[in-house]
Amino acid sequence: MAEVQAGTGDKGLLRFLTCGSVDDGKSTLIGHLLYDCNEVSEDGLSLLETQSKTVGRAGEALDYSLLVDGLLAEREQGITIDVAYRYFSTPRRKFIVADTPGHEQYTRNMATGASNSDVAVLLVDARKGLAIQTKRHSKIVSLMGIRHLVLAVNKMDLVDYDQQVFLDIERDYAEFAQKLGTSIIQAIPLSALAGDNISAPSPTMPWYDGPTLLSYLETVTIRDDPQNKAFRLPVQLVNRPNLNFRGFSGCLSAGNMAVGDKVRVGPSGELSAIASILTPDGEAECASSGDAVTVTLQDEVDISRGNVIAAADDPVPVSDQFAAHIIWMHQKPLLPGRQLQLRLGAQSVNASITELKYVINYEDNSHIAGKTLNFNETGYCNLALDQVVAFDTFENNSDMGGFILVDKLTNETVGAGMIAFGLRRADNVHWQAMDVDKQSRAAIKNQKPCILWFTGLSGSGKSTVANLLEKKLLARGSHTYLLDGDNVRHGLNHDLGFTDEDRVENIRRVSEVSKLMVDAGLIVMVSFISPFRSERRMARQMVETHEFIEVFVDTPLEICEARDVKGLYKKARAGEIKNFTGIDSPYEPPEEADIHLHAGDRSPEELAEEVFAVLEEQNIV
């Protein structure tokens, strides 16, 4: 039992899984690794010697697989029926191995093992070459986002350590893997039984000059370090021992956070900043990816289990519809449309598969049409949730993009999914005719309904000013509503992007909604970039002339970009967001705005005051 030393060279945990067809020698391989790393105790060893003779399947030699096949049924049948976790360490690293089953009916366990692994060791029998299970497991490994794969060509002793056999399999696999387009592959010829290239270089294969399996595992660096990403703290628990402490507990799933950092909470969008961080070692100034923390915020923010505290300049996306890969893990097939519980991070919501686009054929990686997903099948689907959740794509962050599906009656975990991307799609808007007219609705509110249309660049301060104005109006008893561009895009305009076509549609819908609200007798504030003159004109024409007041929030682009409250300009400049107004999509300033706010260097309060004054002047309030 070697010890891992703290300090330099302390590479932490490496989790890997072994997979491949049944009888390819996975358990033997792990048994041999444990043996070579002195993890087998004396009493374990004497048990191994006895059992090798009675139930062993390695002839006179030690049957290392007996060290890992733990369940009675497995020993009797000589197979592995469940994921077994094994532990060993060298002075460089501590390892957790998931030994996963090769039989097809236990593929779900293989996916389970893969979900928590950094590296996959895929065994191939040198005599047989690539099998269906080899390809199936490769696909699962790839779907699970494992980027490092060892192609362990095992049983080289049974093909006389023939280099050509190894090279052929390596080539066949490279050809197959190209279609998957995923992993960094290291092929190693070995014999798990005889111990060639496990922990010591094999004298029988001098033609191979690559690493042994153990030295590869000790040194492989897992790229894609989550520390370099914006921080995400999925809240597991609200910690409230007394009225003076309200902490939010969870494990940082990406990035670094520090006291004072601005945060935006998903899905609510509320803003605050980190006030304190409690780590397992006490109060700290900062924490990084993987740390279990309890944070407090500077403001009273309504946060509950399932919410995500994220970096304010790179907030977490939210959606209630997704495109995702789903691996089905239950004997009863998936029925699209049936309601399931979806668990993503600490969020639990109801979900159903709205469309099964295709089923993956593992043998040639092709797509086939299907109406259901059967046990162990993988499909690409659209899902609809009954509420909005905070997420990341699986590729970006497996903690925030990997989910399980739970049967609501049996409570079994029946599927696992990986979010490809969020969809924006809204339900149909229903129309209901009313008998009472606009005048009577306005009269009872003692106000003149109108639309205050705020236009300007992203970050110009439209929403801030509109928000302040609404407070003022509310304070004097006016009945108001504020339509915010971002918020409407979360709901009504879910399905719209930022192409010119979609921007037009975006404004058309909002104009329609504003018109309905004016009809309801409200003072409506619309806070939309609305970059095109023609659409603003369209909006104006929908209501009576005196009911439309165009407010131009005129903040120079440089100032907007310098503020960059949502981090959008940075992304747009980096090319991560296309069609961004002011950057690669035009903004057409109003020629004759009803109120022109020269906003650059004036406070939002001042600007709101100016608008308020105009409303009073025009007897609107």
Binding site: D10, L71, Y87, T112, Q236, P280, Q341, G402, I404, A416
Partner: protein, 311 residues
């Protein structure tokens, strides 16, 4: 331990892997608290329980753990264990439920009279099920580790139990990423194992880094022992009758695991500190449970006990 003492980071020389294990355990504790109505922590006084409790204190700091502790007391634990337990609970201000199978006790079931298998079933397995049912706990948190024994290696972190507390090894819920499915129907329960991925050496290294107090029996001292059935057994009280050929002698011994004193073998050792033990373990090639009588009753014995409801 309450609240977690603020230590400057440089003082905590925890290796990266221990910090990773610690974070995962804390994550599991928080899931238990969030997903269940009435959790209970199985506190057995030993080193794994000590670490388990230490992790629980950290997971919920500055609050106290939001659940009770349960000790299934067979009446045959080492006296030092009980003293340590009572002292610690008072210091931490935690609620401890002590449960004993009084029917078994009244029927005179002892490790000497009924053999380890029958005794364990009645005084531990049955007692535990009785306690869980009686209090209506829907999740019992244990310190079991996957490295302890072959069938434990396959156990889930949230391990489902039927209404009769049975474990179905072949039909376990898959656990992907950090997602733990704790949904159950009334009467069903879950055993949760926050330390699933720890090894014995991890536990000791962590005890060393965190300076966690332990029952003194883990450290070598001169103790009165007899050899019986290949085991070195400590004579902890007068209930242990000596065979004619047995003599009590003082030997320098310690215990690797702690259970009921007649069933727990001591090992010859000079290790008087945690550092000594880490050193000793690093060189040792005997498995942790080699000195526990109950694991050797028959092949696959732990798996069978677990199916029946043993922790």
């Amino acid at each position: 331990m309450l609240p977690t003492p603020a230590k400057p980071r440089y003082m905590t020389q925890k290796p990266a892997y221990l910090r990773q294990l610690e974070a995962q355990s804390i994550m599991i504790f928080r899931e238990v608290a969030a997903q269940f109505e009435k959790p209970v922590l199985m506190y057995s006084i030993g080193k794994d329980s000590a670490v388990l409790l230490h992790l629980a204190m950290k997971a919920f700091a500055p609050a106290k753990p939001p659940f009770a502790l349960l000790h299934v007391d067979t009446g045959w634990k080492f006296h030092e264990m009980i003293a340590f337990r009572d002292n610690l609970m008072e210091k931490l201000g935690l609620d401890l439920i002590v449960h004993t199978n009084t029917a078994g006790q009244e029927a005179g079931i002892t490790p000497f009279s009924h053999g380890s298998a029958r005794y364990t079933d009645v005084m531990k397995t049955q007692a535990l099920k009785e306690a869980l049912s009686q209090h209506g706990f829907d999740v019992a948190i244990g310190g079991a580790r996957r490295d302890e024994e072959a069938s434990r290696a396959k156990e889930r972190i949230f391990s489902f139990r039927t209404k009769n507390h049975r474990w179905d090894a072949k039909n376990q819920r898959p656990e992907l990423w950090n997602l733990l499915n704790g949904r159950i129907n009334p009467g069903e329960s879950v055993r949760a194992f926050p330390m699933s991925n720890w090894t014995e050496l991890d536990v000791w290294r962590y005890i060393q880094c965190e300076d966690i107090p332990l029952v003194p029996l883990y450290f070598a001292a001169r103790r009165p022992v007899v050899e019986r059935g290949g085991m070195v057994v400590m004579v902890d009280d007068e209930r242990m009758a000596l065979e004619p050929d047995e003599t009590v002698e003082e030997r320098m011994v310690r215990f690797r695991t702690l259970g009921c004193y007649p069933l727990t073998g001591a090992i010859e050792s000079e290790a008087t500190s945690v550092a000594d033990i880490v050193e000793e373990l690093s060189n040792s090639r005997l498995s942790e449970r080699a000195n526990r009588a109950i694991d050797h009753d028959e092949a696959g014995s732990m798996e069978k006990k677990k199916q029946e409801g043993y922790f």
